[in-house]
């Protein structure tokens, strides 16, 4: 039953798949400490896919959540997670730690 549903979606996806081809070699590192992101402002070149490596230095889980980037991912306490992000248009992309939204805030700036 997946096939008829997913067929058109994958076909459409293929049309855009050129965008992920070249991933920047080194992931951009980001740390969560005391429910804050460090750094909380990350500059990336526009038009180039990249990968975030988010380390959670707190003992409790956190959820990286970005509506702007269409990403949500739980990062366990004292754990880490990779988050791949496609080529961005120039602009600002906010993200938060959903479990501590009042302190865990950050922004990715694509230039």
């Amino acid at each position: 039953m997946f096939r008829p549903i997913l067929g058109p979606a994958f076909a459409a996806a293929l049309a855009f798949s050129g965008a992920t081809a070249a991933l920047a070699a080194e992931p951009i590192e980001l740390t969560i400490k005391d429910h804050r992101f460090q750094p909380d402002r990350i500059e990336v070149p526009a038009g180039k896919p990249f990968e975030l490596l988010v380390r959670n230095a707190d003992a409790t889980p956190e959820e990286f959540d970005s509506h702007d980037l269409h990403r949500e991912k739980v990062i366990m306490g004292n754990g880490q997670a990779k988050i791949r992000i496609g080529a961005l248009k120039p602009g600002e992309y906010a993200f938060v730690g959903e479990f501590h939204e009042d302190t865990a805030k950050g922004v990715i700036v694509a230039k």
């Binding site: 997946f2 549903i5 459409a12 003992a59 269409h70 366990m76 997670a81 990779k82 479990f99």
Partner: protein
């Protein structure tokens, strides 16, 4: 405590709305209550298991296990909703000419209730596992235990109230129209989940979402209560991408066409069997 209340409410809300739709869609069906209760219970147990193994799930598949797991859970729910919608389309039409309501057809059994129970279980598991992780983190922090307990309880109650409200609202629909409405709601639920699954597949780099088609966040933000409710019910996304919209429309189209095809075939092949059933 307020933060805990809000987060738990958000997570419970989505599952509660889905339970509300499923309860309304199965109204009067023998055994439906037991199946749905089993789905909820299974979902709660599943969410504890998923939360316990969250680290392991995340670590698999080159660090993208969590995304693929979420996408798989959503797509399984889409398949179950589609299967149920097609079944209803077939049996609803089959009996339309016999002056029998769809409700009666449904009550006489044969309906794939396990499909809906699984949908409920998967929804509870998905939202529940995040809630468990959040509450665990809160309870483990200094003085957080009371906040986790009270915020969690109030958030749960709030979510259940909204879900119950939806259910009671749906019951006000005259019985002859109820299943028509719930059939559409099930189809839209499936379409929304398919679009959401695309996000997770894109996060795992298995599909590319494509360009954002529009931005209606100023009009109706997906972060607000109304936006969240519509996101769950009809798959509203304030900044949808091309592939999300494609998945959404493909799911609706599939359910419509498959329902028609199956209904047509049954009408031709089984007029006596249907009457004698």
């Amino acid at each position: 405590m307020i933060a805990a209340l809000i987060i738990v409410f958000r997570e419970v809300l989505e599952a509660a709305l889905i339970v509300g739709i499923v309860l309304a869609a199965t109204r009067g069906t023998v055994g439906a209550g037991r199946w749905i209760a089993a789905g909820i219970a299974g979902g709660i147990a599943g969410s504890a298991v998923v939360a316990a193994f969250a680290g392991t799930i995340s670590g698999t598949l080159d660090g993208y296990g969590q995304e693929i797991f979420n996408a798989a859970v959503l797509l399984l729910a889409v398949a179950m909703l589609a299967w149920h919608a097609v079944w209803m389309a077939a049996h609803g039409r089959q009996l339309a000419g016999e002056m029998r309501s769809v409700g009666e057809a449904v009550r006489r059994g044969g309906r794939p209730l396990y499909a809906l129970a699984l949908v409920v279980g998967l929804a509870v598991m998905r939202e529940g596992s995040e809630t468990v992780l959040f509450l665990y983190g809160l309870a483990a922090s200094d003085g957080g235990f009371a906040a986790a307990l009270s915020g969690g309880a109030l958030g749960l109650a709030g979510g259940v109230v909204v879900g119950a409200g939806l259910y009671l609202g749906l019951l006000r629909i005259p019985p002859r129209h109820l299943f028509g409405v719930t059939n559409w709601m099930v189809a839209l639920l499936a379409a929304g989940m398919a679009a959401q699954a695309m996000s997770f597949l894109a996060a795992a780099d298995l599909v590319v979402l494509g360009p954002e088609l529009w931005d209606s966040s100023a009009l109706l933000s997906q972060d607000g209560l109304a936006g969240r409710v519509l996101h769950t019910l009809v798959g509203y996304i304030d900044r949808p991408t091309a592939v999300q919209l494609a998945a959404y429309l493909a799911t609706l189209l599939f359910i419509q066409l498959a329902g028609r095809a199956v209904a047509g075939r049954q009408r031709r092949a089984l007029p006596q069997a249907a009457a004698a059933e």
